[in-house]
C-alpha cells in the first residue's frame, strides 16, 4: 500500500465481497474519481490499519481519507468499525459513508446516530447500481470530500 507522498485523498473501501469491491471501484472511476482506492476485506483489517502502532497513517502522512464502509462483514462488522472510529479523537474526522445491501431503518438510524455522513444502499439492479455509485462519486467531489 503505497500511500506515502500522495497528497490526494485516499479512499478506504471496506468490503468483504471482492466482486462488490470491483464493481464499486469500476463505477467510481466512471464518475471520474481517480483517487487511490485501498481495499480491506473486513472491519478487523481496516481497524488494524488505522490503529497500527497507535498512529493514523493517512492523516499523519499529509493525506486525507474517506471511508466507504460495508456493514455485514466477518470478524468485525461495519457498525463496530464506525463506533470505534468515532470514539477516537483523531480518527473521528474521517468521513464515513456506509455502502451496503442492508436497507432496514434500524441499521440506518444506528449508523446516522454513530455519525456516518451518508448511507448508500447497493441496488441489485445493476443499472441503478451504476447510477448510485456515479452519484456517490459526484457527491464526493461536490462535498469536497476528495481532492
Amino acid at each position: 500500500m503505497n500511500i506515502t507522498a500522495n497528497k490526494k485523498t485516499l479512499i478506504l473501501l471496506v468490503e468483504d465481497d471482492i466482486g462488490h469491491a470491483g464493481l464499486i471501484t469500476t463505477n467510481l472511476n466512471r464518475s471520474s474519481v481517480k483517487n487511490e482506492v485501498v481495499h480491506f476485506n473486513n472491519g478487523e483489517e481496516v481497524l488494524s490499519f488505522l490503529f497500527s502502532s497507535g498512529k493514523t497513517p493517512c492523516i499523519e502522512n499529509g493525506a486525507t481519507c474517506v471511508m466507504l464502509l460495508d456493514i455485514r462483514m466477518p470478524k468485525v462488522d461495519g457498525i463496530e468499525v464506525l463506533r470505534q472510529i468515532k470514539q477516537d479523537t483523531l480518527l473521528r474526522k474521517i468521513p464515513v459513508i456506509i455502502i451496503t445491501t442492508a436497507d432496514n431503518q434500524d441499521t440506518i438510524n444506528t449508523c446516522n446516530e454513530l455519525g456516518c455522513i451518508k448511507y448508500v444502499i447497493k441496488p441489485v439492479n445493476y443499472q441503478k447500481f451504476k447510477e448510485t455509485i456515479f452519484s456517490l462519486g459526484q457527491y464526493l467531489k461536490e462535498a469536497s470530500l476528495i481532492h
Partner: protein, 531 residues
C-alpha cells in the same frame, strides 16, 4: 360423672370432703377426750369414794369399839351417857358411809348387805352392854364387850375388808381400761389422720386431673389447629367450663375452616392468575425475542442473498458491455495489433473475472439457500424426545469424520458421557456440528486434539466439546451463534453450524456457552435438562 360437674362445684366438693374428714377426726378426738374424762370421773366417783367410805367406816368402827370399851369401863352414868352419844354419832356416820357404798358399789350387792347386816347386828349387843351398865352390872357388860362385842367387830371388819379390796381392784381395773382407751384413741386418731391425709392428696390429685387432663388435650388440639390442621376436633364431652370452651372453640375452628377454605381458594385463584400472567408475560417476551430473531434472520438472509445477486447482475452487465465494445470495435476498425492486444486483455482479464464472479456468486447463492433450508428444518422438524445413549450416539457421529481424523494428525478423546433425553436426529446433528467445528478450526501448526466429555449436575447433563485449535476472541462470543456469521469466510461453509446447534439446544430447553482462549483452543458447553 364427676367431669360433668362445674369445676367450681368440683373444687368446692373436694374442699368440703376434706373439711368433713378433718371435722370428723376432730369430733372423734373430742369424743374420746370426753370418754377419757368420764372414765377418770368414774374412777373417782366409784371405786375411790367406795374405798374411802370403807376406810372411814373401819376407822369409825374402831372408834365405836373404843367408845364401847369406855362405856364398859365407865364409873358413872354421866360418862355412859356421853359415850353413848359418841357411839350414836359414829353409828350415824357409818350409816352415811354405808349409804355412799350402797350408792356407788359396783361389786356384788350381797357383800355389802352382809357387811351392813353385820354392822346392824352389832347394835343389840351394844344396847345390851349399855343396859347392863345402866343396871350397874359392870362385870357382865365388860364381858360382853370384850367377848361377843369384840368378836362381832372383828366380823364387821372382815366383811368391810372384802368391800375395800373389791373397790381397790375395781379402781385398778378402771385405770387399766382408761389406759387402753387412751392408747386406742391415739391409735385411731393417728390412723384417721393418716387416712385423711392420703385421701386428701388422692382427692386433690384426682380433682386436679379432671381439670388438667382435658386442658392438656385442649392444648394439644389447639397446637394442631395452630399448625393449620383445621380438621382437628377437640374431643372433650364433659359439661363443665372446659367442655363449654371446647364447644365454642370447635365452633370457632369450623368457622375458621370455612373462612380459610374460601381464602385459600381465593389465594389459589390469585396464584393461578399470577402464574398465568407470568406465563403470558414470559411467552410474550419469548415471542418478542423470537420475532426479533426472525427479523434478524430475515434481514441477514435478505442482505446475504442480495449480495451474490449484485455480483451476478453487475458482472453480467459488465460482460454485456465488454462484448458490445468488442463488437463495435470489430465492426468499425481494422484489426490492428493494438486492437488484438486490447481484445486479448479483455478476454483474459475482464471477461474471465466477470465469469468467475458470476459463477462464484451463483454457487454462493445455492449454498446460502441450502443452509437456510437446513436451518429452517432444524427449527421445524418434529421432536421425538427419548432417552438416548449419548456415548453410542457420539461414536456413530465420529465415524463420519474417520477419513479426516486418519489423514490429518488429529487425536479424538471420547470420555464417558451421561445419557440424555432428546431427539436422536437433532442430537446427532448437534454433536456432528460441534465436532466438525472443532476439527475445522484446529491450529494447523500443531497436532489436533478434540475431546468430548460430560457430567451430571443439578438435573442437567452437561456436555463439553473441547479442542486445542485457534480459539475465539471473547469479543466474538455472542456473534458466533448468529445465522450466516462467519469469522473466517476463507474456511468455507455458510456460517450455519453453530446457529443450528444453538437452535437445537434451544428447542431442547438447554443452554449453550463457550469458553475459549485465542490461540489455545475452545470449549463448547451444552447443558440439557434430564427430562
Amino acid at each position: 360423672m364427676i367431669s360433668n360437674l362445674k369445676i367450681g362445684t368440683r373444687l368446692s366438693l373436694g374442699f368440703i370432703l376434706i373439711f368433713l374428714l378433718l371435722t370428723s377426726i376432730n369430733f372423734f378426738g373430742i369424743n374420746r377426750m370426753d370418754m377419757l374424762s368420764k372414765q377418770t370421773g368414774l374412777i373417782y366417783n366409784h371405786p375411790l369414794t367406795v374405798s374411802n367410805a370403807v376406810l372411814r367406816i373401819n376407822t369409825n368402827l374402831i372408834k365405836m369399839h373404843r367408845s364401847m370399851k369406855d362405856i364398859a369401863l365407865a364409873q358413872d352414868t354421866e360418862s355412859i351417857k356421853e359415850d353413848s352419844k359418841i357411839v350414836d354419832y359414829l353409828e350415824k356416820e357409818i350409816f352415811k358411809d354405808f349409804q355412799i357404798i350402797d350408792d356407788r358399789f359396783l361389786g356384788e350387792k350381797e357383800k355389802y348387805e352382809i357387811a351392813l347386816l353385820e354392822f346392824t347386828e352389832w347394835k343389840p349387843i351394844r344396847d345390851e352392854v349399855i343396859s347392863f351398865m345402866q343396871e350397874g352390872k359392870k362385870r357382865r357388860a365388860a364381858d360382853i364387850t370384850r367377848g361377843k362385842g369384840a368378836r362381832h367387830v372383828v366380823r364387821i371388819e372382815k366383811a368391810m375388808e372384802g368391800l375395800g379390796d373389791f373397790a381397790e381392784n375395781k379402781a385398778k381395773d378402771f385405770l387399766h381400761s382408761t389406759e387402753i382407751m387412751r392408747i386406742n384413741a391415739f391409735n385411731v386418731m393417728y390412723l384417721l389422720i393418716t387416712v385423711s391425709i392420703i385421701m386428701s392428696i388422692l382427692l386433690a390429685f384426682l380433682l386436679a386431673r379432671t381439670i388438667t387432663q382435658p386442658l392438656s388435650n385442649f392444648r394439644m388440639a389447639t397446637d394442631k389447629i395452630g399448625r393449620g390442621q383445621l380438621d382437628t376436633k377437640i374431643e372433650i364431652n364433659s359439661r363443665d367450663e372446659i367442655g363449654e370452651l371446647a364447644d365454642s372453640f370447635n365452633k370457632m375452628t369450623t368457622d375458621l375452616k370455612k373462612i380459610t377454605a374460601s381464602r385459600d381458594e381465593l389465594d389459589k385463584e390469585i396464584l393461578e392468575r399470577i402464574k398465568a400472567e407470568n406465563e403470558l408475560a414470559l411467552a410474550n417476551v419469548e415471542l418478542e425475542r423470537k420475532n426479533r430473531e426472525l427479523e434478524q434472520i430475515l434481514y441477514i438472509t435478505s442482505h446475504d442473498l442480495r449480495s451474490p445477486l449484485v455480483n451476478i447482475q453487475g458482472y453480467s452487465d459488465e460482460l454485456a458491455n465488454i462484448l458490445k465494445d468488442i463488437i463495435t470495435e470489430l465492426k468499425n476498425e481494422e484489426i490492428t495489433d493494438e486492437l488484438k492486444e486490447k481484445i486479448n486483455t479483455t478476454f483474459e482479464k475482464n471477461i474471465k473475472d466477470a465469469f468467475k464472479f458470476i459463477q462464484a456468486s451463483s454457487l454462493k447463492m445455492d449454498s446460502l439457500l441450502t443452509g437456510l433450508l437446513q436451518f429452517s428444518r432444524s427449527g421445524r422438524a418434529e421432536l421425538k424426545k427419548e432417552e438416548l445413549d449419548v456415548g453410542e450416539l457420539v461414536n456413530k457421529v465420529i465415524k463420519t469424520f474417520d477419513y479426516k481424523i486418519n489423514t490429518e494428525d488429529i487425536t479424538l478423546e471420547i470420555h464417558e458421557l451421561p445419557d440424555c433425553y432428546g431427539d436422536e436426529k437433532q442430537m446427532n446433528q448437534m454433536f456432528s456440528n460441534l465436532i466438525a467445528n472443532a476439527i475445522k478450526y484446529l491450529a494447523p501448526n500443531r497436532p489436533g486434539i478434540v475431546k468430548v466429555s460430560g457430567h451430571k449436575e443439578d438435573g442437567h447433563n452437561i456436555y463439553c466439546v473441547e479442542d486445542n485449535g485457534i480459539g475465539i476472541n471473547s469479543f466474538h462470543y455472542d456473534k458466533i451463534f448468529n445465522i450466516f456469521n462467519q469469522l473466517n469466510p476463507s474456511m468455507g461453509g455458510e456460517g450455519l453450524g453453530l446457529s443450528i446447534v444453538s437452535r437445537i439446544v434451544e428447542r431442547h430447553n438447554g443452554k449453550i456457552w463457550i469458553e475459549s482462549v485465542e490461540g489455545k483452543g475452545s470449549k463448547f458447553y451444552v447443558s440439557l435438562p434430564n427430562s
